[in-house]
C-alpha cells in the first residue's frame, strides 16, 4: 500500500506545485500530497494540530488501539502520528458493525478508538458502550465545516458521541474484462443474475448482513432496510439460490479481485476507487434500484484504556491536511468542506466518489433496527451455514 501511496504522477505533481504557488493550497498540503513530506518526522512536526495541542511527546502514552475497516487508512499517516507523539497505532480490522458490537459487548476490547457506521450509534449509546466526546480535546473538529447530512448521526440526544470520518456508498465492483461482449451490469438484479449464470463461482458478497441482505432485498425492489418477514423470506431464497455460485463470503475482497480469482463483488466506494485506480478494468457500479448510503465516524468506547491518545489520534486524523491525505489514499469522500478545498478538482469530479444525483437519490441510510433485528442476524447466519 505504501508504494501506491508514494507514487504520484508527474502531472499531479505539477498541478499541486502550481496550486501551491498560487496559494490555493498550504505548504503542508503540498508536502503531504506530493509525498515530499513523507519523511515522516518532518511531516509530523509540521502538523499544527499536534504541536499546539496540550500533550507533549510521551504524555499520551506509547500506544493507541484503533478498530476500523479494511483498506481505510493511509499507513503513512499513522507513521507520522507515531513520529510526532511517540504513540504507536495498533490497527484492528473488522468486516461488519455486528462484529465490532459483539467485541464491545463482551467487554475488555482494549480499543481506544473505533469506527462505527451512522445507524449503529444509537445502539451503542443505548447499550452504554460509547463515551460522549469532549470536543475541547478535538480542536480540529469544526462542526460548521461538516455536512450535517453525514455528520449528524454522531449526535444523539444533543450529545456528540462520534465525529465524522468519511461517507460513501455500497455498490459493486465488476472486472469488465470478464464480461466478454455482454453489457456492463448496472442494477442489483443484473448483479445477482450474472452471479448465477456467467459469473458463477466468481462473485463475492460481504460477510455483513446489512449489505448482503440489503442488496438481495434490492433485487426485488424492496427497501434495503426491510425487516418485513415476507420480504426477508424472498431475500433468503435468492441468497440460498446464489450461494453455490459464490466465490466467497468475505468483506475483504480486494486481494481476490486483484488476483483475478473473483470477478465481481459487493463493494464500498473507496475499495472500488483503489481497485479502479490500479486496474481500470475493475469498475465501480451503483445499482439503479438503490442500496446503501452511509457515513462512518470516529468514536471512543466506554472505558478506553488510553483516553488521551484516543483524543490525540482523532484530532490528528481530522486535521484537514491529514484527512485529505487519507482521502486521496483510500478514496472515500469526507463530509468536511475544509478537506474538499484541499482536494484536486478531478477527485471532486470523480463519479466513483461523488455519484450522479439520480443514483445517489435512490440510496438509503442504514436504519438502527437493521442492526439489532434478530431475524436479519439469523437469516445471515443461516445463509452462511447453508
Amino acid at each position: 500500500m505504501t508504494d501506491r501511496n508514494d507514487f504520484i504522477s508527474r502531472e499531479r505533481f505539477m498541478a499541486e506545485l502550481y496550486r501551491y504557488k498560487k496559494g490555493s493550497v498550504t505548504r503542508r498540503h503540498f508536502l503531504g500530497v506530493t509525498g515530499l513530506g513523507a519523511a515522516t518526522a518532518v511531516l509530523g512536526a509540521a502538523m499544527p494540530g499536534l504541536r499546539s495541542a496540550a500533550w507533549a511527546q510521551g504524555a499520551i502514552g506509547d500506544r493507541v488501539a484503533l478498530a476500523t475497516w479494511p483498506n481505510y487508512h493511509d499507513p503513512a499517516n499513522f507513521e507520522a502520528f507515531t513520529a510526532a507523539t511517540g504513540a504507536a497505532v495498533e490497527v484492528n480490522v473488522f468486516g461488519s458493525n455486528e462484529e465490532m458490537l459483539a467485541k464491545l459487548q463482551a467487554g475488555g476490547s482494549g480499543w481506544d478508538v473505533f469506527v462505527p457506521t451512522n445507524y449503529t450509534i444509537t445502539t451503542y449509546v443505548g447499550e452504554d458502550l460509547i463515551e460522549p466526546l469532549d470536543l475541547a480535546k478535538i480542536p480540529n473538529y469544526d462542526p460548521a465545516a461538516f455536512n450535517q447530512r453525514f455528520a449528524g448521526p454522531g449526535t444523539v440526544d444533543g450529545k456528540v458521541y462520534a465525529v465524522s470520518k468519511n461517507w460513501g456508498t455500497t455498490g459493486f465492483a465488476v472486472n469488465t474484462s470478464n464480461l466478454g461482449d455482454k453489457p456492463k451490469p448496472t442494477t442489483w438484479k443484473e448483479f445477482w443474475d450474472l452471479t448465477m449464470t456467467d459469473f458463477s463461482g466468481r462473485t463475492m458478497v460481504h460477510d455483513y448482513q446489512l449489505t448482503t441482505i440489503g442488496n438481495a432485498l434490492k433485487y426485488f425492489g424492496y427497501s434495503f432496510n426491510s425487516i418485513d418477514p415476507k420480504e426477508l423470506a424472498d431475500a433468503e431464497k435468492l441468497l440460498l439460490d446464489a450461494k453455490p455460485h459464490l466465490f466467497a463470503i468475505s468483506s475483504d475482497y480486494q486481494p481476490s479481485m486483484r488476483s483475478g480469482d473473483a470477478w465481481m463483488t459487493i463493494c464500498w466506494t473507496g475499495d472500488g476507487k483503489q481497485m479502479n485506480r490500479d486496474m481500470p478494468e475493475i469498475e465501480y457500479v451503483l445499482g439503479k434500484e438503490g442500496g446503501e448510503l452511509w457515513s462512518d465516524f470516529y468514536a471512543i468506547p466506554k472505558g478506553a484504556p488510553h483516553m488521551d491518545a484516543a483524543y490525540a489520534l482523532i484530532n490528528f486524523l481530522l486535521d484537514p491536511a491529514v484527512n485529505a491525505k487519507e482521502a486521496l489514499f483510500h478514496g472515500y469522500p469526507t463530509a468536511d468542506s475544509r478537506v474538499d478545498a484541499l482536494m484536486p478538482p478531478e477527485v471532486l469530479a470523480d463519479p466513483i466518489l461523488y455519484p450522479a444525483k439520480e443514483l445517489l437519490d435512490a440510496l438509503e441510510f442504514g436504519a438502527a433496527v437493521t442492526l439489532t433485528d434478530p431475524n436479519r442476524a439469523e437469516l445471515m447466519a443461516r445463509f452462511k451455514s447453508a
Partner: protein, 273 residues
C-alpha cells in the same frame, strides 16, 4: 516406498518453502515477488506490536505450561492412591477436558467469565473505599493462562500417569524401608524416573498454548498473542512481514526442538544409569 515418503515430504515442505521465499520479497504484496530483500525481518523485529505479541505468547505459554505441569504432576502422583468414585469422577473430568473442542472451551470460558465479572465488578466497586479506584476484573492474561492450562493439565496428568504406572514400585518401597522420608523418596527415586514425562508434558503444553488461536480469540480480551496478531494481519492485508515472523518462529522452534531432544536424550541416559 522411498519415493512415496519423498512425495509426502514435498507436500509438507512446499508451503513452508512458499512462506520462506516470500519473506524475502522486496515488494509489499505477499502474492507477487518483486526482488530480494531482508527488510521485512527488520520491520517485524522493530514492530512493537509483534514483539509485544511474542512476549504475551511466551508469558502465557510459559505460565500455563508451568502451572499445568505442577498441578498435573501432583494429581497424577496422588491419583495412584485413589480409587472408587472419586477416581472415576476425576477420570471422567480429565477425559472431558481433553475431548471438548477448544472452540467450546473458549466460548464457555468467555460467557462464564463475562457473566461472573458482571456480578463481581459492581460488588467490588461498592465495597471498595474509593469507588473509582476499585479493581475491575476483565479478560486478559489471567483468563488466557487459566483456559490454556486446563487442556495442558489434563495432558500432563495422562502423560505422567502412564509413566508412573510403568515405574518400578520396588524402588520406592526399598527407599521407604531404608528409612527415607516420603519427600526424600520422591526427590531421589520417583522424580528422576518420571522426569522425562514431566518434561514432555511441559513442552507439549507450551507448544499447545503458543500455537493456540481459537481459545485466545475468545478469552484474550485486549491482549494480543502471536496467533491473534497474525490473524488480524491477515485481515489487514498480508505483507511479507507475516512470512518473516513465520520463518523466524520456525527457525527458533527448530533450535528449541533440537535442544529439547538432546536434553531428553541425556535425561533418558541418566534415568537408565
Amino acid at each position: 516406498m522411498r519415493l512415496y515418503a519423498l512425495a509426502v515430504y514435498l507436500f509438507l515442505y512446499v508451503p513452508i518453502g512458499v512462506i520462506a521465499v516470500f519473506s524475502f520479497n522486496a515488494g509489499r504484496h505477499a502474492a507477487q515477488l518483486q526482488g530480494f530483500s531482508t527488510q521485512w525481518y527488520g520491520k517485524a523485529l522493530s514492530n512493537p506490536f509483534v514483539m509485544e505479541a511474542l512476549q504475551t505468547s511466551a508469558i502465557v505459554a510459559g505460565a500455563s505450561a508451568a502451572l499445568a505441569t505442577i498441578a498435573g504432576t501432583l494429581a497424577a502422583l496422588a491419583l495412584q492412591g485413589v480409587g472408587g468414585k472419586p477416581r472415576a469422577i476425576f477420570d471422567a473430568l480429565l477425559y472431558i477436558a481433553v475431548m471438548v473442542p477448544g472452540i467450546v472451551i473458549g466460548i464457555a470460558t468467555l460467557i462464564a467469565l463475562v457473566t461472573l465479572f458482571d456480578w463481581v465488578n459492581p460488588v467490588l466497586a461498592a465495597l471498595w473505599p474509593l469507588a473509582d479506584q476499585a479493581p475491575q476484573l476483565h479478560l486478559g492474561k489471567g483468563s488466557l493462562i487459566a483456559a490454556h492450562g486446563l487442556f495442558a493439565m489434563a495432558l500432563v496428568v495422562i502423560i505422567v500417569r502412564a509413566r508412573v504406572a510403568g515405574m518400578d514400585r520396588s524402588l520406592v518401597e526399598a527407599s521407604a524401608d531404608l528409612g527415607a522420608t516420603p519427600w526424600g523418596t520422591f526427590r531421589q527415586v520417583t522424580l528422576p524416573q518420571i522426569f522425562p514425562a514431566i518434561l514432555a508434558g511441559f513442552l507439549l503444553s507450551f507448544t499447545f498454548s503458543f500455537d493456540d488461536f481459537i481459545i485466545a480469540f475468545f478469552v484474550a480480551g485486549s491482549e494480543t498473542t502471536l496467533p491473534i496478531y497474525v490473524f488480524s494481519s491477515i485481515r489487514r492485508g498480508v505483507t511479507p512481514e507475516i512470512n518473516a515472523i513465520g520463518t523466524m518462529v520456525l527457525a527458533v522452534s527448530l533450535v528449541t526442538l533440537v535442544v529439547a531432544q538432546s536434553i531428553l536424550q541425556r535425561g533418558r541416559g541418566r534415568g537408565a544409569a
